[in-house]
Subunit: 336 residues, 2 copies
């Protein structure tokens, strides 16, 4: 017993009007006589008619669907952006096709092509690195692309971010002011521009302004995970650094716990500042001082921009920079 589908044609017949009129009623086109509208709506109600979005998409060339590429949904940072994206998308009646890319270039390109095949009206891309191949794909795409929480040093693609370099600079400068001279920095892969070209640059700038020497051996590269942090901690301890800036909250949590366990007092022996202000920063003991970012808003603003682009409107600014802050918790000493 196949579940049969009610089509616009059925409605037209029952209501004794043409398909065009039914379509107008469904789409809220004002050029329909109120009496006709009422009659059609009654039939729609009676037959429980629901427009087929696929057919609609084919005819109108708009799928009211946007593609979202995310490195990993289980990463709280990106998941928070995704939440902002979805909420705004829903507000504008768009749906989200969400796909994990694992930050892998090849996979990103693949996914992008699948999304284009599905005729998404736009794409929001999240990732840690944009390379030429990706840029080329973005150009090739018929749909607009917006980057969320993702930097493209070349700035071709519209994007929403905070000023990572300035945030790191401010955080590190605060450490310097408290007298630290050996400040380590633990980041994700330096092959990713967010780390190499923004965070590290901010760190260098802070050192520079304070006329402190930049020392390669205080720069650490690790994975974005708790375990990576615990493994990295002894190395940092050996370096003699008295403070560390960390590029990922889970990594920072790993460093904190491993430090405490090996008898290092935080913040007395080592001050720690991290980057994303996720819930993790409140759970550790001591809790972690962090750069704060409007995560939800980064996603939300990116989606708002995308809706504009999808409707062929101009963007006020192509590269949006939202404000960041720094929230002090117990992993750093109070400023004097």
């Amino acid at each position: 017993m196949e579940k049969q589908t009610v089509t616009i044609y059925d409605v037209a017949r029952e209501a004794a009007v043409s398909m065009a009129t039914v379509s107008r009623v469904v789409n809220g086109n004002p050029n329909v006589k109120p009496a006709t509208r009422k009659k059609v709506l009654a039939v729609i109600e009676r037959l429980d008619y629901r427009p087929n979005a696929v057919a609609r998409g084919l005819a109108s060339k708009r799928s009211t669907t946007v593609g979202v590429i995310i490195p990993d949904v289980t990463n709280i940072y990106f998941a928070s952006l995704a939440r902002g994206i979805d909420d705004i998308a829903m507000m504008y009646k768009y749906n989200i096709i969400l796909t994990n890319s694992d930050d892998a270039g090849e996979q990103e390109v693949n996914v992008l092509n699948t999304l284009m095949a599905k005729q998404v009206d736009g794409i929001i891309f999240m990732g840690n690195h944009i390379d030429d191949k990706l840029r080329a794909e973005f150009k090739r795409a018929k749909a607009p692309v917006v980057l969320a929480g993702t930097v493209d040093p070349q700035g071709d693609t519209p994007s929403v971010n905070i000023d990572y370099a300035a945030a790191v600079e401010e955080a590190v400068t605060a450490l310097i002011k408290r007298g630290h001279e050996k400040i380590a920095i633990a980041l994700g892969p330096l092959s990713q521009s967010i780390n190499a070209e923004y965070r590290l640059a901010g760190y260098k700038r802070a050192l520079n302004k304070a006329k402190l020497p930049y020392d390669d051996s205080l720069v650490y590269e690790a994975g974005y995970s708790y375990d990576a942090g615990t493994k990295l901690q002894p190395v940092i301890a050996d370096s003699g650094a008295t403070a560390v800036f960390v590029g990922d909250d889970e990594m920072a949590a790993g460093i904190i716990n491993a430090s405490v366990e090996s008898g290092i007092s935080i913040p007395d022996d080592l001050e720690v500042i991290t980057s994303n202000d996720t819930i993790v920063t409140q759970i550790t003991r001591p809790a972690i001082t962090s750069i704060t970012q409007p995560l939800y808003d980064i996603g939300a603003v990116a989606m708002r921009m995308l809706t504009k682009l999808m409707n062929d409107k101009e963007l006020d600014e192509k590269t949006v920079t939202l404000p960041y802050g720094i929230v002090r918790r117990a992993s750093t000493k109070s400023a004097e």
Copy 2:
């Protein structure tokens, strides 16, 4: 300068064959002479033709898209399931339309209807409670539905879970064996069957078997969040309970931190066991003993079941129960 689209018709013309043949080549239909196939593939390559998935969906009545309803992507528990779902979906060439429901019945129904309008081939539903309204919608849907990490006490809908009641019973029994007589239980809303009909039932069973009295006032209802945990902690402390089972990891983290801060020693004064073994359980100090669940697999198995249903195959079992475990960490004393 409109970006023009290459259609199957263009390919057919250029290759001097019919659309049907092109379609066969694209879909890997074996009834094509190798020479023809090669010729068509060459043209496809040259024109950079990519099939329009929407048109394909309309003609074939399959969208190769599945809907996924999730309470909140930023919840690590559900996000982990989603990751399993997406990986398997991708393996079977399906895409995921992901939508947040906030666990709100009305929103869930809405979203379900939108997904059906988009002609998804199947739906994976995650949530904390299934009511009659939802069950009715599931029946009405033309596409199969599978529940992931979500119980339906009536068991109409295929689902993948662990045996929550047994897990809680085992955890609480272990506490009882260590001599606890006043064991509190902190859960999410009791209006949700996972809490009222499974976790609480397991708790009662454990007490029952040990002939301990069941005391209403040791049952706490709170939100699934860190803050809810910190707020709940003083109440638990006042109850005189010497151990507590918690239904959510973030809530447990809140209870732990608030306890430690108010001078309560964990596990000496209060033992804590939680439910989901997310990364949070490793980050707190003490780390939290937890029921372990194969989160990724719950999602993955659910998606596998859905692919079977979408291809009209029979399910071996409709209600799949995956194994759980209990991992001891520092928030409980070692068993003697």
